[in-house]
Amino acid sequence: MALLEQAPKMIQLIHVSKRYDQRSALSDVSFEIGKGEFVLLMGPSGAGKSTLLRMLIGAEQPDEGQIFVHQKNVTTLRRSEIPYLRRKVGTVFQDFRLLPKKSVFDNVSLPLLVQGISSADIRRKVTEALRAVGVDHKRDQLPAGLSTGEQQRVCIARAIVNGPVVLLADEPTGNLDPALTSEIIELFKLINARGTTVVVATHDPLVMEQVNRRVLTLSQGTLLPERRVMG
């Protein structure tokens, strides 16, 4: 399988399989994603999309196969090395995972705080990230005071504040209406245009319609033949 030989590989899966008890979550999955690509990972619920994304950040280990992210073999990383991988990979969650008692600013500053970055740099980078997603004016509010779309934007700001090389999004539009879905997808396109590799896992056909990119489809843990959607 020779995918995107012209671009440096950002993500590479080689014969990856994962089982939970007797159920197969992923079965012999291999693919490559080049630097700066925007890829949709499609498939119904339970197809193995979330498992795959969790494996890319070392939250799960495959039973078989190997996974490379940014030239690091995730399957052989020591536990102590995983945090450093995660600092290069921004993650956006369907349920946002924002800290309810922290302001928008504090939530977005967390990835920088854990790296011991100076408060002046934190202020600058968080402001940039909040401006990039258009919620800078809400910086002092608590997440509960924001709309669903705004919460997802804050979550995206937190994922990009570090300047990650890869952005992973797990069903980022699962809780959003079609108009908000379009806004979020446009945001991802913008982030991708700045050179960040973007992988969006979704089962939402609306997302697929809006993204003119590579589509990897999972069905019951198996990767189906690849296609490209023309928007």
Binding site: I57, A59, R79, S80, P83, Y84, L85, R86, R87, T91, R97, L99, L110, P111, V114, Q115, R158, N162
Partner: protein
């Protein structure tokens, strides 16, 4: 710590009570040890001489004792002085000795040993050595008393260690449970921190510090409680009027022991946190 204020307070107070129990035994032990020290300091060894010993021989023995580096002071009591003392102390029984016709009481030296020879072992060894001296008939001191006290101290030492270990384990468990509640309450935050690249030490250190602070506060509070009980006890002793002077001899734990107890509390708290974090980490792994 302020997330679960009530739980934190309960943990500190419970830890304080637990450590105060350890402290009571420690206080008892320290004071008995001091009492043993005073008794040993106060030990007067009676070196009885054989009857009909010439004055030269007595002088020889005296010279030998005086040149002994273990001997701090020496007092000679002649047969006559001994009889005089007996009569003075037991006037109603003095007729018993008169019936014997001659003075049956031996001459003796009352010896006080220097401080470096106050241990029970040193006293025993010295007494054994002097028994061998020609002209010495008997060496006597309140050995039973010292032996009994040493046994009591040893028993208290064992009980204190046993109770200390059990109660320390209890303190670790109390703090471990408190930290576990905190970890549980913050599990979402911890999960998020992990996902955004926080290292294990970044996540764990605040909880380890929290445990150590809980332990130290519990320990400090236990010392306050102990000091209060100690003062109350002394006051009661004074009030009864029976133990005049004794209340001043009972000592509280020295500042260095107090600091050591706070450090112990800190260590126990740290250990409690570590236990919880390990279990929490295993559950999340």
């Amino acid at each position: 710590m302020w997330t679960n204020r009530a739980t934190t307070m309960v943990a500190i107070v419970t830890t304080a009570f637990t450590l105060a129990c350890v402290g009571v035994f420690l206080l008892l032990y320290v004071n008995l040890l001091a009492a043993a020290g005073w008794l040993q300091d106060d030990v007067k060894i009676m070196v009885y001489l054989e009857d009909r010993l010439s004055s030269d021989s007595v002088a020889d023995i005296e010279q030998q004792l005086r040149s002994d580096q273990a001997v701090a002071s020496l007092l000679f009591i002649s047969k006559e002085q001994a009889l005089g003392e007996f009569k003075a102390q037991f006037p109603s029984e003095s007729h018993l000795l008169e019936g014997l016709g001659q003075n049956p009481l031996p001459a003796s030296f009352v010896v006080a040993l220097s401080p470096s020879f106050h241990s029970l072992d040193a006293i025993n060894r010295w007494a054994e050595r002097v028994r061998q001296v020609a002209g010495v008939s008997k060496v006597d001191y309140n050995q039973d008393w010292i032996d009994a006290l040493a046994k009591v101290i040893h028993s208290i030492e064992l009980v204190a260690i046993g109770i200390g270990v059990i109660l320390s384990a209890a303190a670790v468990t109390i703090i471990a449970n408190t930290i576990r509640l905190t970890l549980f309450a913050r599990r979402d935050e911890i999960a998020i921190l992990r996902l955004i690249g926080a290292t294990t030490s970044f996540i764990h250190i605040p909880y380890l510090l929290e445990g150590a602070v809980l332990g130290a506060l519990g320990s400090a509070l236990s010392l306050v409680m102990l000091k209060f009980m100690y003062e109350l006890f002394r006051q009661q002793m004074r009030a009864t009027g029976r133990f005049v002077g004794l209340d001043n001899l009972i000592a509280f734990l020295s500042p260095s022991v107090c600091l050591a107890l706070i450090a112990l509390g800190m260590g126990l708290g740290f250990a409690g946190s570590l236990v919880s974090i390990r279990r929490f980490g295993e559950a999340k792994a």
